[in-house]
């Protein structure tokens, strides 16, 4: 028992990283040392945690097992093939990943999926009612509120929130509210005009 660390306070992560590469380099390592190494590895290399999660996405119920590290964005894109929600930065700096959770706009890249039990998530795929587009989608088409289309789902989800939150009293207010959604193509005229046409 004397070789066993009592807690992670005893060994720093840096120590583990350093010593582990030293261990790896040695060809002959006694079993006792190996056991010790494996023990501290378990302390310092976090285990993958898989958690159960039930939620509704675009009104469809899901019962999932998700990695505790998985963001809502990666859950949608990589696990559920709902790739309409886009990754533009993964750091909450560009707005491309905007979705609605329980009716409110949320950056899905900054939201861990596991924090959303029993939530209602709406993505761009859930905005239209069958073949009938949401008025905001129609407005983006009519006003050419995009070019490459990559930021567009996030723009539209934010635009819907912009109208719902009543931030459309002027061009200036729309532009200010929508400035968390970057469009590198610069289709800001079309985006602003689309929102204004819906707000009227």
């Amino acid at each position: 028992m004397r070789d066993q660390p009592s807690s992670s306070k005893t060994y720093s992560r840096r120590f583990f990283i350093k010593s582990s590469s030293a261990f790896a380099a040695l060809a002959v390592i006694p079993n006792s040392v190996k056991a010790f190494y494996n023990h501290i590895k378990e302390i310092f290399v976090p285990k993958k945690e898989i958690l159960p999660l039930s939620l509704r996405i675009n009104e469809k119920p899901y019962s999932l097992d998700v990695d505790s590290r998985t963001t809502l964005l990666d859950l949608l894109r990589e696990n559920l093939q709902l790739t309409g929600t886009k990754k533009g930065c993964d750091h909450g700096q560009c707005g491309a990943c905007t979705v609605h959770v329980n009716g409110e706009r949320v950056l899905s890249c900054l939201t861990l999926a596991a924090t959303l039990p029993e939530s209602d998530v709406t993505t761009i795929e859930g905005l239209a009612k069958g073949d009938e587009l949401h008025p905001m989608q129609e407005a983006f088409l009519e006003h050419d509120g995009f070019q490459c289309g990559y930021c567009t789902p996030g723009q539209i989800m934010s635009a819907v929130a912009c109208v719902q939150e009543g931030r459309t009293t002027s061009v200036g207010e729309i532009k200010e509210f929508m400035s968390g959604n970057i469009c590198r193509c610069g289709a800001y005229n079309g985006i602003t005009n689309a929102i204004q046409s819906i707000a009227k």
């Binding site: 590895k41 995009f146 061009v171």
Partner: protein, 737 residues
């Protein structure tokens, strides 16, 4: 020659619009393949030196990790096996085949795992050992002083002819490193269907170029490589090259015999897929008292990387835009320990134009003449380098319309005249010019029994509206209702086409669409003609259900009977086209006039774009809504270039600082007004069947100097270094107080 048109669709918006607003459009990282593994690139933590070992032992113990590729663990690639052979390839294709490190965050490993989370975490645990060389060149301001200028050897006249001109401006101008940053991060999915067959989904502006690059690398016939870039989330030049993400995914897929996806992170978008190089230029211009511009000396230096030559021709604009009788150009590139720069929207010309258009504005204030008048007087009367007449050139009309729209006559002609509260108002203008090019491109048309068309080309649509432009052009050439046309593009299985870029996309494609349309009509004429009734191909009009002859309303045959009579399932045509001898006879260019109004805050230094008017001559406007959108976007890019965009580099370590959207500021919605765009919309008579000259670049060229010229008009401070951030403005107020 066809007439310019402005067709409004019955269907709303662009042909691909519905896919984009519903989230159904698939970008390169979004294809679902069985057994797809995730790869995450690891970058070097040193800037200069050699990697001598890599420790992947902990990374490999992370559950889900499949393999870690690096210099020490990669498939054998004959083309890269020795240093001599590697010279045939750009450095950014060979990172796993060299131990030399030339810039910070140079890819050194690819961690491949079952999930993105596993791969990302394991990538953080890869450790490398280096031999670091602290002797490195990072600081452009210092290093450029050691690098001499080269004579460009294409002088016109002589600089000695005008050194005693009554009015001379001689100034230096600088622009910070800018990064493309399309919203979609570069991504590749690669899968080997067999040892000799590679399938790639890539974020690229040109699928045929990627096909050829991969073919050379893996010693494959490009026919055995299929590259798809159906939806491309922006480019601005970053997708003109094939970068290491494409190579790494292909290597890993080969090594592991399963599909691998590699998506760059946003910080990696600053170090692995190019940028607009930091630049210095000197512009000396002389003018006569009547406003005639006598001569120009234009000199430039810009950065590049250690092992990849790149020169973007900053001084080319001195030759083109004005009728200077005397031109001297000198330029060079400065190798630094940074990653490789590449072409970014309006490459060379947008940088050079900042110098030239700023210098002319300075000259105007010195001479007390109207900046519009001096430009009207000096517009290049013909293509100056060749002496060829312009095929078409309406910069004068752009200037007149722009001046009228913004109310140029009523502007203050001196600085510091308009102030409301703490806001000064100023007006500025500048012009832009871009060579109108046309390259080789192909297209096919397939017609079914109902007369529906599918038009295919390998060319990509990077957001420019290529797809909708094809619909419009086919409608124009064939008369067929637009609703009967479907587009398939951005795939190397379609007819080859030049990479989308340089504003030549639509210009190049229009020839192919015209040729394919003609070929289709010829086939239809042959199928329709009988002994009793002859059909002339040129007069065929394709309708909803039948073809008819122009001017002969009674001569009709339905698609159904035509196909039945000839026992056909489909009719296929495929044609290619290039520029021809018109290039020897004429000069071709698009041009733009920018007229801006800015407000400058005396206390905070904020510069607010109050009004932006851009008038463009780009020949026929094929797709008015998307064309305006392009120019609006270029204007937004110009605001970034002038006011916000600067990639900071730590000159001690060679590391980028703040390389993400929090540290690197692109213009957002609130940074720009609703931009006012108009087109001259007159067809160019020679460039291509559509008369369209291209407009992706020209809207950016001249935008930045129009902004700094407006700032001068507002507050009387001349900014010669971009970007003009608020700190620079406030310190200029402080120093002048």
């Amino acid at each position: 020659m066809v007439k310019p048109f402005n067709i409004l669709s019955n269907r709303k918006g662009r042909v691909e619009g519905k896919a984009k607003v519903t989230g159904k459009a698939l970008y390169s990282a979004e294809y679902e393949l069985p057994k797809l593994a995730h790869g995450v690139l690891v970058g070097s933590t040193i800037t200069n030196g050699k990697i001598i070992g890599i420790d992947t032992s902990i990374a490999k113990e992370i559950p889900g990790v499949i393999d870690v590729l690096s210099y020490w663990n990669k498939p054998n690639i004959a083309a890269l096996e020795n240093a001599e052979k590697r010279k045939d390839f750009p450095i950014h294709h060979t990172f796993f085949h060299t131990t030399k490190i030339d810039f910070n965050d140079q890819p050194i490993a690819l961690v491949v795992a079952e999930t993105l989370e596993d791969a990302s975490f394991a990538a953080s645990l890869v450790k490398a050992q280096y031999e670091e060389n602290k002797d490195m060149d990072i600081d452009f301001d210092n290093v450029r002083k050691r690098v001499d200028l080269n004579d460009m050897k294409d002088d016109r006249g002589s600089s000695s002819n005008w050194q005693n001109a009554p009015h001379i401006v001689d100034q230096e101008y600088e622009i910070a490193m800018e990064v493309h940053n399309p919203m979609e991060m570069h991504a590749t999915i690669a899968q080997w269907d067999s040892a000799n067959s590679l399938r790639v989904y890539d974020k690229s502006q040109g699928v045929n170029a990627v096909q050829n690059n991969l073919g050379a690398l893996f010693n494959l016939d490009p026919k055995n490589i299929r590259v798809t870039s159906e939806f491309v989330g922006g480019g601005f030049g970053s997708g003109l090259n094939m970068w290491f993400n494409t190579v790494a995914a292909s290597l890993a897929a080969k090594q592991l015999n399963r599909p691998v996806k590699v998506v760059l992170t946003r910080p990696q978008m600053f170090t692995m897929v190019g940028y607009r190089p930091e630049s210095w230029q000197r512009v000396k211009i002389g003018a006569a008292t009547d406003g005639k511009l006598l001569g120009v000396i234009h000199q430039s230096k810009h950065t590049k990387s250690q092992n990849h030559h790149f020169s973007e021709g900053i001084t080319a604009i001195a030759h083109k835009v004005y009728g200077f009788e005397n031109v001297q150009r000198n330029a060079t590139t400065v190798p630094l320990h940074l990653s490789s720069p590449t072409w970014m929207r309006g490459p060379g010309d947008s940088t050079g134009t900042f110098g030239v258009e700023s210098a002319i504005d300075e000259l105007c204030y010195k001479m007390d003449v109207d900046p519009v008048d001096i430009r009207m007087k000096n517009i290049a009367p013909y293509e100056m380098q060749t002496g060829n007449p312009w095929s078409s050139h309406f910069l004068d009309e752009c200037l007149q319309r722009g001046a009228e729209t913004i109310g140029w006559e009523n502007r203050p002609t001196k600085p510091l005249q308009l102030k409301e509260g703490n806001w000064y108002t100023g007006y500025g203008m500048a012009v832009g010019l871009w060579n109108a090019m046309r390259r080789h491109a192909g297209a096919s048309i397939e017609m079914d029994k109902k007369g529906n068309l599918v038009i295919r080309t390998a060319m990509t649509d990077i957001g420019t509206g290529t797809g909708e432009a094809i619909v419009n052009m086919a409608h124009e050439f064939l008369g067929i209702p637009r609703e009967k046309i479907k587009i398939e593009l951005g795939d190397s299985i379609h007819p080859k086409a030049v990479t989308q870029g340089g504003s030549w996309g639509l210009s190049s494609l229009s020839g192919a669409i015209a040729a394919a349309s003609t070929a289709l009509k010829e086939k239809l004429a042959t199928y329709a003609s009988t002994n009793d009734q002859q059909w002339k191909a040129a007069s065929i009009v394709l309708g909803e259900n039948e073809i008819s002859m122009q001017g002969k309303p009674d001569q009709k045959v339905t698609y159904a009977s035509l196909f039945t009579k000839n026992n056909l399932d489909t009719i296929m045509v495929e044609e290619y086209s290039s520029a021809g001898e018109e290039r020897e006879k004429y000069g071709f260019c698009s041009s733009a006039a920018h007229f801006y109004r800015v407000k400058v805050h005396a206390l905070t230094g904020q510069v607010k774009m109050d009004r932006m008017v851009i008038v463009v001559d780009a020949g026929t406007i094929v797709n008015p809504q998307a064309a305006a959108n392009q120019i609006i976007g270029a204007g937004v890019g110009g605001v970034g270039m002038a006011l916000t965009e600067k990639q900071e580099v730590d000159i001690n370590s060679g590391r980028l600082v703040g390389n993400d959207f929090a540290g690197y500021h692109v213009a957002v919605n609130a940074d720009v007004p609703l931009i006012e765009v108009s087109f001259i919309d007159k067809p160019d008579p020679h460039i291509n069947p559509m008369g369209a000259k291209g407009l992706g670049e020209v809207g950016l060229i001249g935008a930045a100097p129009a902004i700094t010229n407006a700032i001068y008009n507002a507050i009387g401070v001349r900014f010669r270094k971009l970007p003009v951030t608020p700190d620079k403005v406030t310190s200029s107020f402080n120093s002048s107080a």
